[in-house]
Amino acid sequence: MNNPGVLNFFTQASNHLGVYLVLGALLFAIGFFGFCRHRTLVGMLVSGELILSGASLNFVAFGRFLAADPVTGQAFALFIMGIAAAEAAIVLSIMLAVYRNYRTIQTRDLKEMEG
Amino acid sequence: MIEYFKEIVEGAYTLAVGMGITFVRMFRRRVTLDYPYKSLTMTARYRGHIELKRDETTGQPKCVVCMACQKACPSGCIKQLDGQKPEGAPRKVLTAYMLDFTTCSLCGLCVESCKFDALAFSHDYNLTSMRKEDYQTMDLLKRVGGAK
């Protein structure tokens, strides 16, 4: 309460574009970290979803604060959702197929696929 | 295509019939008996635990201690069947008749084996106890003509 500036920023945080962009960036970075760290296809898929959410958060935030037509950002986020759903379905079916044939979903064990 | 719709319609019809049957029964008379408040009368041949029959004239058990029931019992649940012959009495008088009701299978072989009509099934079916011992040693002498 001593610093009205901080309080002010805090109460107004939800109206700042920058806050959302930072959140989006953090989501993206966390997703990237997870993508590198996870050794399984599912783990990588999860991280990929995080990266995509970071991106759609940015889209919506830009749409809300910058674009003349806020629908644009939302529409893009919707498209990303559609793509993400399709991607999940595809990746998982591949994963299941791979698993059934190779008995593992750990990427490092899929070396033989490279040749 | 016709088959497809036919199956839907027929299936739905059978389901509707089923629901109709249960619906009608929602308003039928209940068949359950409110057991603790009401109870059925047992049929004449109901097999409860066995009991000793009383002689109408003397009021004593009819048993003559011939041991036939004890021999007939498959589970050996008639224990301590004992009697003595007092002076001047025409026959033996029963002094002990212990039943281990926990192992009794109510087969009725003992009742059938009795040539003196001294044994019968009681109609006592509300037996409860918290102690196993109550049924391990049931003193039938104390229950002569007891429950009904």
């Binding site: 919506v60 299941l96 059934r100 | -």
Partner: protein
């Protein structure tokens, strides 16, 4: 010092606290998703993160998007991922983790640098909002835009989805078929 409890002070504070909570949940969920060694937790974290994200969308005045986020991401994507984990009976990642510790540190460093760079970039950019707002971004507006301006993209997405479903079916089927012979 008295604390002002008048509604005009409290309401924004509550709202801000909620916002902080939502943002925190988003990041927490994401961290769990990225860092957890168990995939079940990963997906649970992802779901949590999506709930937070839906909250953020609400703050961005896109309630439709928020609900779609829950419906699609939690109702479909997370469930499907979980389903696959269950079917594939995933082995724990423990061994991979211990061996890849340097790699994880490297990944973390790179990710941190990435985040730092992006945040710096955000700070240094002067964002120029458009003064005019064409519409409120309500459901009707989204619907109209999807069927007019983004009509082609919309159709394309549906085709992609259809193909994805068919492809998934084919791939999963053949995998199963081979196995059952």
């Amino acid at each position: 010092m008295t604390i002002d409890l008048s509604p005009e002070k409290v309401y924004p504070l509550v709202s801000a606290l909620l916002f902080a909570g939502v943002a925190g949940v988003t990041l927490l969920g994401a961290l769990v998703a990225a860092a957890s060694r168990r995939l079940v937790y990963s997906v649970s974290g992802l779901a949590l993160s999506f709930v937070g994200l839906a909250g953020l969308y609400l703050y961005l005045q896109s309630p439709f998007l928020a609900l779609m986020q829950i419906l699609i991401y939690i109702g479909a994507v997370c469930i499907v991922i979980m389903f696959a984990i269950m079917l594939a009976d995933v082995v724990e990642e423990k061994s991979a983790r211990s061996r890849a510790l340097p790699a994880a540190i490297a990944a973390f460093l790179v990710a941190a640098m990435l985040a730092f760079a992006l945040i710096a970039l955000i700070g240094r950019t002067a964002w120029m909002p458009k003064a005019v707002r064409v519409n409120a971004g309500a459901v009707q507006d989204i619907g109209r835009a999807l069927l007019t301006r983004f009509g082609f993209a919309f159709e394309l997405i549906s085709v992609v989805l259809l193909l994805a479903i068919l492809g998934a079916l084919v791939v999963a089927r053949t995998g199963r078929g081979n196995n059952r012979e």
